[in-house]
């Protein structure tokens, strides 16, 4: 293999298995080139956790609060994952929060008034989201109305719809046990472990098969050590988290036992896998990045830009509906503020803090989750410290500003690192 490579003088730097050092060097070059990826968010989480651990001790680190963090953050994460699709286009969806609120209300009403079972009601909620996304997408891509304006209008209008559906000060109760279980129940311990085990195996197998594919095609492949280290790190994080969530965290064990992995984690993890897969392994996903990077180039390459845009707005609104159901499941009802107040701002903030660019073309589904973790840790940690809501908002705003600046700077670096 290496013999033929050297004799034919391939145009593109010939490489056998890349050594660990070479892989690391590539990574460093990418970061210097402005592609900082998840690094700021990860660093942020670590620093924040350390700070709050020092300040609050076990009050912050105990298993109960850890599970609480998961529940607090999961709805933001789902909204943020949806927003990633729209941000990738370089667009924005300000209405996502209230789309979620109305979506959750639709689900509640379908169960309450139409006696639909919860699965059909959920499908109804998703269809509502798809419809909202379709209309926004059509207005943006066909009429050319800026998404900022379109979704601002939807933000106002859907807020009104939600108010009408719930009645002023009223609520739409969630009583279906399946929907309530999402945010209020945990998996049995064995299921949590089985889930974690399967995820680790799937992760390792996927990485290995992709490596094998590249090797078979005679393409440069990183040394197997990279795969081993990545798989071990992934397994370690998952096992630690599962173990921690499997601890008894009830304040009064005799009243009710509280342990196990919250069910919502499976939903968030499932969405992460499916959406990442769509975005990175299908032609549609590639086209999303292309449209966000250079819409005119995409159009000339024969990509239907309008269709890509519409599909992303639909994706965002449908995920918003899911996020709305999570919010409603946590509070056992839909009220006029479900999906309102800070939901949208935290969700957009999550995506950006996680590393998704506001300029379009750069971002990952995982960013939504990472950013949501950062924001939730701030909110949770500061609240435990007894800080006022006002200060929490101020700090969150600062962090968002920081993330947006990192985004802008890394974009300038990416532009400056080439095109001499």
């Amino acid at each position: 293999m290496s013999a033929t490579e050297t004799t034919t003088e391939p145009a593109v730097a010939p490489r056998g298995p890349q050594s660990l050092g070479a892989v690391f060097e590539d990574y460093r070059a990418r970061i210097r080139g402005g592609d900082v990826g998840a690094l700021p968010a990860l660093a942020g989480v670590i620093v924040l956790v350390l700070v709050f651990t020092v300040l609050s001790g076990t009050q912050f680190t105990n298993a109960f609060n850890f599970a609480n963090l998961v529940l607090q953050g999961s709805a933001y994460a789902v909204f943020a994952m949806g927003l990633v699709f729209v941000l990738l286009l370089g667009e924005i969806d300000l209405s996502a929060g209230y789309t979620g609120g109305v979506g959750a209300a639709v689900v509640g009403k379908l169960i309450l008034d139409q006696n639909l079972n919860w699965v059909l009601a959920l499908i109804g909620g998703l269809l509502f989201g798809a419809l909202v996304g379709l209309v926004i997408g059509l207005l943006v891509s066909k009429l050319g109305v800026p998404s900022f304006v379109v979704t601002l209008a939807f933000f106002l209008a859907l807020q009104g719809v939600l108010l009408l559906m719930t009645g002023a000060g009223g609520t739409i109760p969630y009583r279906d046990s399946h929907l309530l279980a999402i945010m209020n129940k945990n998996m049995p311990l064995w299921l949590g472990w089985a889930f974690a085990g399967l995820t680790v195996i799937a992760y390792a197998a996927l990485g290995f098969s992709r490596r094998l594919q590249r090797q078979r095609a005679g393409l440069p492949t990183p040394t197997i050590l990279v795969w081993v280290l990545k798989s071990i790190a992934f397994a370690a994080v998952l096992i630690a988290a599962t173990a921690y969530l499997s601890k008894e965290r009830s304040r009064n064990v005799f009243l009710a036992s509280l342990k196990g992995v919250p069910i919502v984690i499976v939903i968030v993890a499932g969405l992460l896998v499916v959406l990442t897969f769509l975005l990175t392994r299908t032609a549609w996903g590639r086209h999303v990045y292309a449209v966000g990077g250079n819409a005119e180039a995409a159009r000339r390459a024969g990509i239907n830009v309008a269709r890509v845009k519409i599909s992303c707005f639909m994706m965002c609104s449908m995920l918003a509906s899911v996020g709305g159901v999570l919010l409603a499941s946590r509070t056992n009802s839909v009220n006029p503020q479900t999906g309102g107040s800070d939901v949208l701002l935290f969700a957009v903030g999550s995506a950006v803090i996680g590393g998704t660019s506001l300029f379009g073309g750069r971002g990952r589904v995982l960013d939504g989750i990472l950013g949501a973790v950062v924001i939730t840790v701030i909110v949770n940690g500061m609240t435990l410290q007894g800080q006022s809501q006002g200060r929490v908002y101020m700090i969150t705003g600062l962090v968002l500003l920081l993330a947006a600046s990192v985004d802008a700077v890394s974009r300038r670096r990416a532009a400056a690192s080439g095109r001499v």
Binding site: A11, G292, N294, R300, R419
Partner: protein
């Protein structure tokens, strides 16, 4: 080639690259009926142009942009398309690429009339255009850009390994040695490297005609040299290359054939060897040449 030198001076219209019997009788060239154009078609054979345009007309509203344009493009040759700003060069190639339809005229591909209504039709024939700008997605890597809009998939999923292999093969085939890795985002490439990627994308699809609109306009000296060498290699590999350029040095250096548009009319298509730098400049600026090479509509 040199055997044909000199024949052009006797022609009323210097379509010099084709001294075959098809050329005389040019007086009817704006008549579009089949019977007439049939006689005008070059004979099918070794020297048949891969692309032939006859009597092409195009107006945008009241603006008559292309006036009875004829053009022959041959495999293995670089045909330069030159002309002043607004002469209609871009309009002509956009029509060839299927972005606009021509109002009238004949569009022959490999000697046969074809209907090109959109870019996909042109791509299907093997015609690829490298646009001066807006052609690449900065955030995607070289492989993704080369396959943009035509990704290879296996059971619905992107076939990254095959795409990467084919991208490398194509770049190797063009003897491109300036790219470090095909997995670097295009944003981090130099202007010359970006142009190289755009050209490599055009030849990836077994294309027969590659049209380049001002490929060196934004490049420095060294990078211009690289891209011109690449353009020459494309032709030497048997492709037909159409090069639009403002730079007369580039044109004289790399082109076999020079077609001059003047105010929407094709005033000359001459062999590079048969004209001087200043004659071409004169054709571009006045639509006619003084010694030997004459404009058609004198």
């Amino acid at each position: 080639m040199s055997a044909r030198a000199g024949t052009h001076t006797v022609n009323s219209r210097p379509v010099l690259s084709n001294p075959s019997p098809a050329v005389p009788g040019r007086s009817t060239r704006k008549v579009l009926s089949m019977s007439v154009t049939q006689t005008e078609r070059p004979p099918v054979g070794a020297d048949t142009p891969i692309l032939t345009l006859r009597g092409i007309e195009k107006s945008f509203g009241a603006v008559h942009v292309l006036r009875g344009v004829d053009l022959d493009v041959r495999a293995g040759q670089v045909t330069a398309l030159v002309g002043d700003n607004g002469a209609g060069k871009s309009t002509l190639i956009k029509g060839v690429a299927g972005i606009y339809g021509f109002d009238a005229g004949e569009y022959l591909f490999e000697g046969k009339p074809v209907a090109v209504h959109n870019p996909r039709d042109a791509n299907a024939l093997g015609i690829e255009v490298v646009y001066q700008d807006l052609a690449l997605c900065d955030n995607l890597d070289v492989v993704h850009n080369m396959f943009l809009g035509r990704e290879l998939t296996a059971s619905g999923l992107l076939n990254e390994a095959t795409m990467e292999t084919r991208a490398r093969e194509t770049l190797d085939g063009l003897s491109v040695r300036t790219l470090q890795s095909v997995r670097t985002p295009v944003a981090s490439l130099s202007g010359g490297q970006r142009q190289t990627v755009a050209i490599a994308r055009a030849v990836l699809w077994n294309s027969k005609i590659v049209i380049l609109d001002e490929p060196t306009a934004a490049l420095g000296v060294a990078q211009t040299e690289q891209v011109l060498a690449l353009v020459r290699r494309l032709a030497d590999k048997g492709l037909a290359v159409v090069l639009i350029s403002h730079n007369m040095n580039d044109v004289m250096q790399v082109a076999d054939d020079i077609a001059v548009l003047y105010l929407g009319a094709m005033v000359a298509q001459v062999k590079t060897a048969d004209v001087t730098h200043s004659q071409v400049v004169e054709l571009i600026t006045t639509g006619r040449a003084t010694n030997g090479t004459k404009g058609a509509d004198a």
